[in-house]
Assembly symmetry: C2
Homo-oligomer: 156 residues x 2
């Protein structure tokens, strides 16, 4: 009598439940750029103030951002990325590169990120174990959750 409705258990889905709402990743983008004040976020992201306030609460609660006082009297706050937040930066980097390549065809880029080595950042995702570039064909997914196979729920 199990609800035949539960989706596949998955860390991607869980992560997206936290940062997949509209504007959340853009908040992280601005915070990573060092723009952590409320009004800055409103201007640079273009989100409604109430939605932004909700996102910020959620991200702080999830341990992705912290809210820090940078001035008592007038009390002023600043949001900063935690370690967990910074570890999401590769998601932003990958999305930016993808957008640059596929949506702007590599020209008229609105923002260039430079690596400390001096060149514009182009990233490569490698396997930590063997050092090789990771391609789709080299990956094999192994579901571990009980009741689930690669293709879907076990008919059980």
């Amino acid at each position: 009598m199990a609800a035949t409705k539960d989706p596949r258990p998955c860390s991607i889905a869980d992560a997206l439940a936290l940062v997949g709402e509209k504007y959340s990743l853009l908040v992280l983008r601005e915070v990573c750029l060092g723009n952590g004040r409320f009004d800055q976020l409103v201007r640079n992201i273009g989100a409604p103030r109430d939605v932004l306030a909700a996102r910020l609460r959620r991200l702080v609660e999830a341990g992705i951002l912290t809210k820090r006082v940078y001035s008592e009297r007038p009390q002023r706050f600043e949001y900063r990325a935690t370690q967990a937040g910074l570890e999401l930066e590769p998601v932003l980097t990958t999305l930016r590169e993808w957008g640059d390549r596929h949506l702007r065809k590599g020209t008229d880029l609105p923002m260039v990120v430079e690596h400390s080595c001096g060149s514009p950042l182009v990233t490569r995702v490698t396997c930590e174990a063997c050092g090789g570039v990771v391609r789709h064909e080299d990956l094999t997914a192994r579901p571990q959750a009980p009741g689930w196979t690669l293709t879907g729920p076990a008919t059980a």
Copy 2:
């Protein structure tokens, strides 16, 4: 008299406009796993059928998926990732690793991905130019869009 409302021009925002809606990246997850049929997507993702149909239309239109007939009479379709779609896989990989680490603390993972080298995939993002690991502190963002600085719109 420019609308003081335009957000920062940004490829991340543009990319998210395409794949940032609820379920879109989960569709890509399933398609990358080889599960490209409509009913499979419904079951494995848990999305309402009409929302899923809308997402699929949009992703096909954006050139991220293709719709392929795998059986005439009974006509049956299958969605597959295009090259552009496959290039979004690193986003999924990063999100999965982040979720595994921060949401499940590395235990009871619902899905393990194995690299062709034989070990469970753990990725590293490196700079293509110098080969070094990319860290937040090593990045410098340079806005190129006219009217925009790192911190926000130029007062013009």
